[in-house]
Subunit: 253 residues, 2 copies
């Protein structure tokens, strides 16, 4: 399929690489950031532009991978009837694109993407389309880069998935951050926790996390909990989280 | 080295396997749970007992891997002068063992261990000992099963490590649990989050989690946050955690 990529950030870069690897042609990269666009175009041996009026109109698909807030700006004055246009945002309604073409949709990658990635991770794709033709096209494209994880999902479902993604990605990463900070303040080596972090994430491939829960909270081991809280006197942020999550674990089941 | 393992649970099972793999001899497994002890003894081609009076006294090391609360019970009436005796608990002082021998210590595996594990994960070992002879012995033993992650650590340090472990293991797993529950209630497939969970845990091997933080909270994207909170009206437990961790992310830095 012939694709124009609009945007030059993390999602644009990684999806573009996945498209290239799957044998699709990237006809052009458009971005206000001319330098980033030109780097991607060089990598993919194609052209770039930072003029919206010069967007190539020979592609099958126009994929908008820009910040949520910037989508409105990008599609202003963009008119590509007959073409398929999609954005990649979890939390933006599909209909926002209806001024551009009758064939619009969403192509949401449920993954944390960074252009610096060397090994590309598995990327589940949640797609939607304004009509059957668009849906079929997007499903085929998604399957070509993510054979096992392609699901049709409307605006509401994507927003709910986004909440779940915030929990297991942003919130989990924040726990890593405060653990790292705590280690730094106490002279401990955070790196020694990496095998445990790995094991915790790996285990739930086989076991439901509910079954995998261990530790002082689920054991109601109040002696250990009190000794921990005692040591956290000078770490109010962590102590706060410790108390809330301990209560939440004890509430569960 | 010749080892008697006291206990037959997850820690006893996995450390025992690691000892066997490293070429040590397990002379005996002692446990009140005769059936579990005898299973381990069969796996390791050795003997087991559930009578404390029959504990083999020819070993170099006696490793107690039982619940924190059960350690006191196990060491009652146990007298093994000349021998080295250790427990495996993060949160139990080393001195608890001083009635058993002059050579006592701790051998704390910073990992989440389960006897059902097929592939044994990396297990950082934090050890301590009552004297140089004991420390040297334990360091050598630890290095034989965990060449790259062996650190001497006193009672205080172990307790602090335990706090960090609770955060990155128990608390992270709880976030997985509430995400899974949310998915189940909303008809979403939690399995689609596994690649993201993997990527989140893998990324911090290269990038500090502080640098890896993304999402609506750190972007102060209050529109998305409000739309999420709106959808969480009927999920008070998750909503509570969402609010606290969003605030905590925004406080950081």
């Amino acid at each position: 399929m012939d694709i124009v990529i609009i945007g030059s950030g993390n999602v644009a870069s990684v999806l573009g690489r996945k498209f290239k690897n799957a044998g699709h042609a990237i006809l052009q990269v458009y971005s206000r950031n001319a330098s980033a666009a030109s780097k991607l175009a060089y990598e993919w041996d194609t052209e770039s532009t930072n003029y919206k009026s010069l967007i190539n109109n020979n592609a099958d698909l126009y994929l908008i991978a820009v910040n949520d807030d910037a989508i409105v700006d990008v599609i202003k004055d963009l008119y590509l009837p007959e073409k398929i246009i999609v954005h990649t945002a979890a939390a933006v309604p599909m209909e926002i694109l209806q001024t551009v073409s009758d064939n619009y949709g969403v192509f949401y990658p449920l993954q944390s993407l960074r252009k610096e990635m060397e090994a590309l991770p598995a990327v589940p794709i949640f797609f939607d389309g304004s009509n059957e033709k668009t849906k079929n096209f997007l499903q085929k494209l998604a399957t070509s880069i993510s054979p096992e994880n392609v699901v049709e999902a409307g605006d509401d479902t994507r927003l709910k998935l986004h909440i779940a993604a915030v929990v297991v990605n942003n919130f989990v990463n924040h726990l890593y951050t405060i653990a790292e900070e705590y280690c730094r303040n106490e002279g401990l080596d955070f790196k020694q926790l990496l095998p445990l972090i790995d094991e915790t994430a790996s285990r739930i491939k086989e076991t439901s996390p509910q079954q995998a829960q261990t530790g002082p909270a689920i054991r109601h081991d109040s002696e250990t909990i009190h000794r921990h809280l005692d040591l956290l006197k000078n770490h109010p942020q962590l102590k706060n989280i410790y108390v809330l999550l301990t209560e939440s674990i004890q509430q569960s089941k």
